[in-house]
Assembly symmetry: C2
Homo-oligomer: 224 residues x 2
């Protein structure tokens, strides 16, 4: 859970955080496959910094569940099998369902329009790499009125954790169009301020996407 309450606080961007961001993106993008050893020396040399910021970044990513660290053994990109993907999506369904339930009654047109704008951006975005963060932005916009920064932080962390698994399927046009259709359904339901219906749509959306992921992505996450 990275920075439970960030988003508003103006922190001087430190090198360690930049490294963490790049690593997170590289892992999400897929250029760093699951199980890849992350040597501190190598990374330090690649980035042109010393090992200290790299250490901090790895610690941070460990907290997000993206890498796993063993003191003597070093850090590796966290493995993620089908069971793990199901776990993440189950937690997401739980957290996001609750966040949506709390948020919908308090949603203003401002947030709804923002969500709709993001949806259009997704349709117009040719670069697959940016789809993950846009997807996250859409969901968080709908939850933003839930009133619990902690809940939002957990949700964001789990989006990050699952990002790399989502992206591998984005080249599949079917996945993208179905996902977008479900997104628009969800937004419409939210516009009607029907919280329970929205939660049902969301849970089905997550459940369907998860099944697709777990089936298709079973082997590609890499095995030991």
């Amino acid at each position: 859970m990275r920075g439970l309450g960030d988003g508003l606080m103006q922190k001087p961007l430190t090198v360690a955080e930049q490294v963490a961001n790049v690593l997170r993106e590289s892992i999400a993008e897929g250029s760093l496959a699951a199980g890849t050893p992350l040597r501190q020396d190598d990374l330090a040399e690649r980035f042109g910094f010393s090992r200290m910021p790299v250490r901090d970044a790895l610690r941070q990513l460990e907290g997000e569940g993206i890498v796993s660290i063993h003191p003597t053994e070093g850090a590796r990109v966290a493995r993620m099998d089908a069971a793990e993907i199901r776990e993440i999506f189950a937690v997401r369904a739980l957290l996001e369902g609750e966040a949506l339930r709390l948020s919908v009654p308090k949603l203003g047109n401002e947030e709804l329009d923002e969500a709709g704008y993001v949806l259009n951006q997704i349709d117009a975005e040719p670069n697959v790499g940016r789809w993950g963060s846009l997807n996250r932005a859409f969901h968080l916009a709908l939850y933003s009125a839930c009133g619990s920064a902690r809940l939002l932080g957990l949700i964001e962390a789990h989006h990050n954790a699952a990002d790399r698994n989502v992206r591998v399927l984005l080249s599949n046009v079917n996945y993208r169009s179905r996902s977008q259709a479900e997104h628009r359904d969800l937004l419409t339901t939210c516009r009607h301020r029907d919280a329970e219906a929205a939660v049902r749509v969301l849970r089905k959306h997550l459940s369907d996407r998860m099944e697709t992921l777990a089936k298709a992505g079973d082997g590609l996450a890499g095995k030991s």
Copy 2:
């Protein structure tokens, strides 16, 4: 969320983790009040180590939401007002409710007996400081069969985050006896393998404890 899946993995205990444990315990115990600045130099000197392990420990605790770090400003014990306490308990109710629902059907007598044993330990434990970890052990024992290491990790993290707020009320005999009574109710329901009833008991337990905490602990967490 510290070590999503620890508990079984045998890691060489590093100095940084020891420091983190001591700090976590000190914060939970209350000797480090909310808002207290945590100077790296001071802590390093107190523990007899250099600043590096302290830095790592602080990073880790930040990930757990126990301390907040600002790059130039340093680290402080995270503030926690009544609203934050309610957030934590709301998340706990959500996570633990689901974990219990998943776990109850698969619970063996082994885990149930373990939970009962822990309850007796709580009654027999004179040292208030150990009540927090025993309480956590009881709850986790009931959830242990849920099948999701991720869920258990999140639950553990939120127990740690709320620990210090729980402990301040333990000197109150009423709180302790009522909590124990609710615990025994919960255990009995679990023994009957009635998942939905167990979830209802748990949610009421958490809700009641939260209300007591939020009311009583409103001012004692310290203000700026």
